[in-house]
Symmetry: D2
Subunit: 335 residues, 4 copies
């Protein structure tokens, strides 16, 4: 950590501050005096140093981290890729391409079982589906809730596909006991209490990137879960908010190689939410695979025009079959 | 609501779609045929029409709302300003300038009582202070929690100032029973379960704008609370995320007059979080008052350099006295 | 074009406005009356209707285009892909992958010829290199200027590679007479005078997307060039400005399929500027090809550590050879 | 300047690099070795050090400036406010509030003279009006050009108001000889050739902030003009591009106090372009004055509904009179 002090700070204030840094954080402090400013360098383990405390000092002009503020999610301290095991034959991060597919919302037994069967046939390894739905409007359909969870489990029983579904509050963690992967939605990426509680479980967590979260903040949210002892975190890039209005979000394709460099955690991409338009799912899915994603999560609905939510971005099972064909072929060609 | 159909949609598909709109939503449907496209107009009460359902139809090119999607928060249906009564002598939205001040985090009895006394002397009408703190890092100080709430109540007893403090999960609502105003933080603005539960109380809610929330999304979150029957919502602009890196956030000063036009709810500004720098608090507070804000929420700490969080943006009580002097003088001059 | 009028506009004002629309723009006007507002629909060729004029009327609440505001760049009026012919054996937009490579700045004969030879060997079809350099700081190296152009032509003579280089002012158009493709940089995307003058030439123009330009604004800038009679426009996505600070820009990968849908013009991607980091060039180039780009423009420098500008994002010739191998293999596999 | 080296860089490479820094830039180099990385600090005048050169080195992890990259625009080297003298009785930056008003586009003698007279009566010190108009669409009205300049001069003769108008290309500098203040539009803020040529004149330049320019980039563009010897630069904040779509741009109100701290140049605000809506001009103008702006530039049109451009954001002369009354009263009360 590098601390630039304000010009003309009295030497005795600097000395005092150096002492405080040493005793508070057990770090070594180096100092050098420039023409206009003095700079301090903290040497040692600084990931627990509170950067806001430093920044609050009246003699401090600016602070810059050299080490990342996350440790357990950091590839520097864990060079090998993390492989998250979902079931006996499904893992994420092992070099294969893990495709999760299914409807935005679970709507009925018939719907979810039919979609599950069809996406399985096209090569999907997992079934996605929303039971609790975060909706911008209080007047919109909010999901089938616990009934939706039951239908997902039923579809799992029928097809053998592990299921991934979104949690919205800490009180529901017990209810998600029998879910294979628990999803934390973009709007809850910094619901720190929820993250902390999920850290106490051993469940694989699919952590979506927040609408305007930096990559560092996203990894810090992963760190929250891991700090509690749960290392089974799967990161999910789903598009960020920018000034461009043509698409709902802007897929940050560079986030894939960046996360792979900074962290050992697997990263998957959600091309459906990233674009909000079904005809963009294929090119974005292709791009994600080419850029090195460990998996994809794609919305598929047997009747998008009557879907109870997000139909505009859903593929039909037939369209999904074609997209899946192309992405698995691409993955194969890259070996 | 206006629906633009795709070029060359067959007339029978259009007729079928029109029928469906009429029967699903009890609206009248107007239609006109352009050179390239056909356009449908929905007439009637469309705020419950699910825009995503419409957008999902394969024959639909684009949809545009004419009416806003919020109703209870909408000034069109409630022309007079809402005045939120906090206590016998404190209200927000009545034309006066309501200043809330206090530390980012409650740290000790001595700290909170001393600050409360001093900000009261400078004209603050309410005491702010965090007991539960949302922090980006799991390793940072997370607040004194229930002990912090007790200390706030103690400071209220000493000074008579009503208190405002942040809630982080639905399970805590009972614990906040005796708090005067419950704050929903920016990161929880779309924690819809929390909003819904708060809608069941009658407590005044200070709803911070999300880091990258549009004004419409912010008002939709207010609508969540109000849909449950709680009309005591105070909106708080606290800066949005942009590409500019000099400040932590960019204060969207235009949000004040815009919210006043679109909604009847009172709006306050947080110049401390908007800038992240104590020397910017005064000019931003002045700008907020000049633009018509109903109140301000300002961080004050008796010892910013030892503050356990966000010290860099805190004023000392002495600095706050000066800022308060200037903003009340400005407010006075605008009468 | 759809025009929503303000609630309670007097019928005679509406009638007057309808008349004016008809006579000014030779369009038909449809009208329907909602519960709260009246809506007018303009039918006919509206791409020359001045949306700002409409928006300025005191009786107008909002305006929405149904047709795009660009015509010559619009795929609706030109369904086949445009193929821009650069030289006897180089074209862009014909289904092949056109790779342009070379240094950010031309520095010396030795440098540019050596790089040209090496990128040609690796499969590049064109040589890029800056002679006039837009630099944020007036104290930074601004390019070799006309001498740089001469060196590029010399390298072209040595290798046969057509050259692409950036123009910065209208007075230089004559000087660029003998350049194969003229680049308009991101910062000049809305230098409308420059665009208009380039429209009077027949030169292929590589039009970079502005730092925060929407896709529509980008296509409108292409329209400026095309309105003058020059249809040889190649669009170049080079990353947009967002809140994320890890990379210099955020590559908007979805822009590729979107531009291909909205327009018939070819689109290439600049993974070097999009990321600003050489290790990100390969994954972003792969993603661009997978998403359907017609070409790539990549920075290559024989000595990035001594490059006079933008060295951090340059590949060495050896690195470029590897990247080129992977992207051509990917392109091949997608046939 | 602080340079963080990559972990495990060999000591001999570091020594070599240090030597090169010393000899290239005539700076002293300090070094300290952390647990994971080595950090170098450059001491001396570093504003001409090419940060991209440093960043390009393969042994460099990251670079951070301690000094700002601009010098002539920097308050550190010029502590007193710059006062730009426009005419015998008009100056900007002297503590008064300089209001420039007039139409977006000059349209006719009658129009410009009538508006000039009326805004003068309301207290405007200068007349604004566009003769050359940057328009997104090639089909929109592009201004009266040189005829517009003549009409502005005529209005100046009639009223005595100095005139400010926008330049779009270097070839026009001679034509602007007799203009009082030359405006550089947001889209040309990084048209470096134009900036450089304007630096060779002694004309006051109104430099608008680019649509997505950082404050540092904006000051670097001022530096371009000043590096040529022209110190008469007036900065103009006109809103930045963000994700929010309700307004055309987001006024960055904090930019005013920030620019005043970082630079000695005067700063004015354009509330008309910042919002794009006439009813927002007053609250934004009030906020700008309260935040410390040296002036305002406001669009006024005698017939906004027939304005040839940007009518939606124009005030009528009568509305301007009211707004002017309120902002001068506010300015007065702040003394």
């Amino acid at each position: 950590m590098i601390i630039v002090l304000k010009p003309s700070t009295p030497p005795e204030r600097i000395a005092l501050f150096e002492d405080r840094l040493r005793s508070n954080y057990h770090v070594k402090v180096n100092r050098w005096d420039g023409v206009h400013s003095t700079v301090l360098g903290l040497i040692g383990d600084t990931h627990t140093v509170d950067i806001e405390y430093i920044d609050a000092q009246d003699i401090v002009e600016s602070v810059k981290r050299v080490q990342e503020p996350y440790k357990k999610a950091n590839r520097k301290f864990h060079p090998e890729n993390t492989v998250v095991k979902i079931s006996d034959n499904v893992s994420i991060g092992d070099g294969s391409l893990c495709v999760m597919a299914g409807p935005c919302s679970v709507e009925s037994e018939e719907q979810i079982v039919e979609i599950a069967r069809s996406v399985k046939k096209s090569g999907a390894a997992m079934l996605r589906g929303g039971a609790f739905k975060p909706r911008t409007s209080p007047y919109a359909f909010q999901g089938l809730k616990s009934e939706g969870l039951d239908l997902l489990k039923l579809a799992r029983k029928e097809t053998g596909l592990p299921i991934v579904t979104e949690i919205m509050r800490t009180e529901h963690i017990d209810m998600f006991e029998n879910v294979d992967v628990i999803q934390v939605g973009a709007r809850n990426m910094q619901n720190f209490d929820l993250l902390r509680e999920l850290g106490k479980t051993k469940k694989p967590i699919l952590l979506k990137r927040g609408l305007s979260a930096t990559i560092e903040e996203w990894l810090m949210s992963a760190e929250y879960i891991m700090a509690g002892g749960n290392d089974n975190v799967i990161l999910c890039e789903r598009g960020i908010r920018t000034y461009e209005t043509y698409t709902r979000n802007t897929l940050d394709i560079a986030a894939i190689p960046i996360v792979k460099k900074l962290s050992h955690l697997p990263v998957v991409v959600d091309p459906s939410h990233a674009s909000g338009k079904s005809w963009l799912v294929e090119p974005l899915a292709m791009a994600a695979v080419a850029a090195g994603a460990d998996g994809l999560i794609i919305e598929v609905h047997n009747d998008p025009q009557h879907a109870l939510s997000d139909g505009a971005q859903s593929l039909t099972p037939k369209q999904f079959e074609q997209v899946a064909g192309r992405i698995f072929a691409l993955k194969e060609s890259m070996k």
